[in-house]
Amino acid sequence: MSPTLSQRATRLQAVVIGMSAGGLEALSQMLRDMPEDFGLPLIVVQHVPENHPSQIVEIFQRLCSLQVDEARDKDRPKPGHLYFAPPGYHLQVEMDRTFSLSVDPRVHYARPSIDVLFDSAADVWGDQLAGILLTGANSDGAEGLHSIARYGGLTVVQEPTEALADTMPRSALKLFQPDYVLPLAGIRQLLLRMDR
């Protein structure tokens, strides 16, 4: 018998999250009260301007109790940590479960690109990965989330009517039917259930 959604949610290894316009506010609502010993690494691509130093790490250090870091080349993602892709670099996960960065051309006009992170993470973690796609005014992330679904991973899309910009969630829904379409409060509950 194939495992139920709840069973799948309890044996994950990592969570990848993608967002663009309106994403910071959405993410901070979602991660509020996340326990500092959350059992999985959370890896985020947020579209940001390339040539400006990003304040995102400092902002989230104040907003949540997780350990917040910019993802570094060759680092191994750890549970309880929230990682952000650096501006101007694609973030990927390698087969040995370490991060790698690249300055390859932009994908969907974006570097970092959500698709690039999601595709590589799907390769590595297969059905032990959850992908969450939030608000955004761009279709980056839809194909990557679809890859996660094809490898048996758990897929979550923010309810488009709630999203500040609904292009990103709607692009995913046009491609395939994810496991969950939820408002932020629901995604938060789901995340807490993923925490073993």
Partner: protein, 272 residues
């Protein structure tokens, strides 16, 4: 989880490239390589990586087409202007004390960084006594670097970076525009030697005082990063300088203790 067919095909392709053409991508970070190969499949017209492997083994032209994907040129002039500012303020004053300079730009791609460095050296009065080695593994990229022709669109973006990097003149002093392209001033090239060199398979060719290798190491696994830094360490003379990309470090290499940071933020190091 058993290895998927695509991962096996990729490893075999990389091995075939090495055995047939001596280009060694075996220690490259696989995630980027995979994306690049998948893109190459579409344009080279193959339905699988195995088919591509068969094709490149028998057709050197198909291999050259694949090589353009495996080594996608992704360079910009004065990328990260603060890096060039750090060079001006913290490295140039020490380079001035040498009667002659050898500078190595490793992984120079289509030459954007080479021209940036030549402009900086010229403005600091050091270009006349410098020899710049600009190396890459892709002969087509090297040829484009040698020609020094760039699109007018890209030059507009570089102009802002040039100014932020502490540029002392007008960026347009360094090129001639024609239609939608520009040709870089050939005096910038007079002190540059472009050469084919692989950080994966070749050895050191000269003693240098400064090496700039930016956003190349991120494409390597740890073993190959170590090899590359080893080459730089060997090539650099006493107290020579090493500049890396803004997200690259020596932390994961076995040479971490053999360099000191000159500008931690801009990733400029000095040999101890």
């Amino acid at each position: 989880m058993p290895e998927r067919a695509l991962e096996i095909e990729l490893r075999l392709l990389i091995e075939a490239v090495y055995l047939r053409y001596s280009y060694d991508f075996r220690n490259y970070a696989m995630a980027s390589l995979k994306r690049r190969v998948v893109q190459a499949l579409r344009t080279i017209g193959c339905s699988s990586v195995s088919e591509l492997q068969g094709k490149i083994l028998h057709d050197p032209q198909a291999f050259m087409a694949l090589l353009q994907y495996l080594t996608i040129p992704v360079s910009e002039m004065f990328r990260d202007p603060a890096y060039y500012l750090a060079l001006r303020t913290q490295v140039v004053p020490l380079l001035r004390t040498y009667p002659s300079l050898k500078i190595w730009i490793a992984g120079c791609s289509t030459g954007e960084e080479v021209y940036s460095m030549a402009i900086l050296l010229k403005e600091e009065g050091l270009l006349e006594r410098s020899l710049i080695y600009a190396t890459d593994i892709n002969p087509q990229s090297l040829e484009r670097a040698r020609q020094g022709v760039y699109t007018l669109d890209s030059i507009r973006a570089y102009t802002e970076s040039y100014q932020k990097a502490g540029g002392k003149r007008l960026f347009s002093d360094y090129y001639t525009a024609a239609y939608d392209a520009v040709l870089m001033d050939k005096s910038l090239r007079e002190h540059v030697t472009f050469a084919d060199h692989s950080l994966a398979t070749d050895s050191v060719f000269a003693e240098t005082q400064f090496i700039s290798c930016r956003n190349v190491l991120i494409y390597f696994d740890r073993a190959l990063q170590d090899r590359a830094i080893g080459l730089f360490h060997e090539s650099l003379g006493h107290r020579g300088f090493l500049g890396l990309g803004s997200k690259e470090s020596l932390d994961f290499t076995s040479f971490a203790e053999q360099f000191e940071p000159v500008s931690k933020r801009e990733r400029v190091f000095r040999k101890l």
